[in-house]
Symmetry: C2
Subunit: 76 residues, 2 copies
């Protein structure tokens, strides 16, 4: 079973990586960029009988830092 986990910083959390990308885009001459937020995309291939709770636990225990990050699970 294939899954996609989207991990993004919670609103209000400083995003130095996003800022660096935003600045670099400007430096390359790309105007009109209002904001950039950088996150993680983790593609998992797990056994078909893996429960939603187990996948949620993987996210909470390892894939996302739930203090500053949100995560969203998508089945492919």
């Amino acid at each position: 079973m294939k899954l996609r986990i989207f991990v993004t910083l919670k609103p209000g959390v400083l995003d130095p990586q996003g800022r660096a990308i935003h600045k670099a885009l400007g430096g390359l001459g790309f105007g009109g960029v209002n904001d950039v937020r950088a996150g993680k995309l983790i593609e998992l291939d797990v056994a078909d009988d893996t429960s939603d709770d187990r996948i949620d636990a993987m996210c909470r225990e390892l894939l996302a830092n739930t203090v500053i990050e949100n995560y969203r699970i998508e089945r492919v």
Copy 2:
């Protein structure tokens, strides 16, 4: 205009980050994980009149290393 850019390693390209996550999941007792691939999710907020070509250029010039990475653009 809000966009999501998904940047993933091309198939066959070694993914040390994915491997590290895979190993860590095993260490935490999560069995049944066949594969893990780590990528980037970049959320852009750009001016409404930004053309597809400009967005594509942002990806090719900065957001993705097209030698080893694929990118996909999604409008939110």
